[in-house]
């Protein structure tokens, strides 16, 4: 079966490489999609719990006292930009761009991911100072069940990025590694999608309702 020249997964058209690697990569990527959808249900449920518990503030601090939209705005821009840079990193690998470009885009992505985490943790600490700790109320439990879960995913993405960097250095760009880079990019984009859900439902939803 002849495959069309353009492919669904960015970077999947390994072109000069042989077809079996292409097929294997397609299988793994589809499997990763299925995993992401399972993960999506995790997040979906946490969103549902947050919505049902938004009133359960039990006299504790609510969204208006706790949320800092400026910081959220900064985090949004950082995460969005990192989604672009991870894509560019993948393209740089795929089209054999000079090594400096590859390192640059991977490096920028990692720095953006880490600064997102730093800002997020600063937010949590600021919330804790105002009494916004998960032990305070059902509403805060739901908040801390959801937003740090996303943060944990970003942290996982950062570790993955570092491990992949080391492997690329050790083994060069093999088919297997290229397929992993593709999956990392998918994962990163997926986290961006979840983040859109978080700003819309957790932050804006919380502020408009609570």
């Amino acid at each position: 079966m002849k495959r069309a020249p353009t492919h669904s997964y960015p970077g999947l058209n390994l072109g000069r490489r042989h077809a079996s690697a292409d097929k294997a990569s397609e299988v793994v990527t589809f499997g990763f999609w299925v995993f992401l959808m399972s993960d999506l249900v995790y997040f979906g449920l946490m969103f549902a719990i947050y919505i049902t518990m938004i009133d359960a503030q039990a006299g504790g601090p609510g969204p208006h006292e706790l949320y800092d939209l400026k910081s959220i705005f900064a985090q949004t821009l950082i995460l969005l930009t990192s989604s672009l840079t991870v894509g560019l990193a993948m393209l740089a690998l795929k089209y054999n761009l000079p090594r400096a470009r590859i390192v640059l885009w991977f490096g920028v992505t990692l720095v953006l991911g880490l600064s997102f985490l730093v800002l997020e943790i600063r937010d949590f600490m600021a919330m804790a100072d105002k009494g916004g700790i998960p032990q305070r109320s059902g509403f805060l439990s739901a908040f801390y069940g959801l937003v740090p879960l996303h943060g944990l995913h970003v942290a996982t993405g950062c570790i993955w990025l570092i491990v992949l960097g080391i492997q690329l250095r050790l083994f060069g760009l093999t088919d297997r590694l290229m397929s992993r880079v593709v999956r990392l990019a998918l994962f990163w984009h997926f986290l961006d999608l979840i983040w859109i859900g978080i700003i819309t439902i957790v932050y804006f939803g919380g502020l408009s309702y609570g």
Binding site: G44, L45, S83, L84, L88, L193, F204
Partner: protein, 108 residues
């Protein structure tokens, strides 16, 4: 080689367009929030719709989900997941909201 660099340009453009679109939508959302506050239903509705638009932009431009044959399987998967997710979330909110009203759990 020429064809490859052409493809490279095309794929890169795709990312940049997606980024630009997402950026605009994000700015719009935050501008609305600052300018009008988010206390009224109408404002929140428009924020939610812009969020939805951004989801679609990113799905199309970053995750390459569209109606081409090669990504049909992923599209089917995403659509089915959305269906299940909607059942789960809307069902949960419906049930728990109804319980809250009937049990006077929270001030509604």
């Amino acid at each position: 080689m020429d064809k490859r660099s052409e493809m490279h340009r095309r794929e890169r453009r795709r990312y940049i367009v997606g980024y630009g679109g997402s950026l605009l939508l994000t700015l719009a959302v935050f501008t609305i929030a600052y300018k009008y506050g988010i206390q009224t239903k109408g404002v929140y509705l428009s924020i939610a719709l812009l969020g939805l638009a951004q989801l679609i932009v990113q799905l199309v431009y970053f995750l390459h989900i569209d109606r081409r044959r090669s990504s049909r399987e992923d599209l089917d998967l995403v659509l089915f997941s959305t269906l299940v997710l909607l059942i789960i979330i809307l069902g949960t909110v419906w049930i728990m909201g109804n319980l809250a009203v009937r049990m006077h759990t929270y001030p509604m």
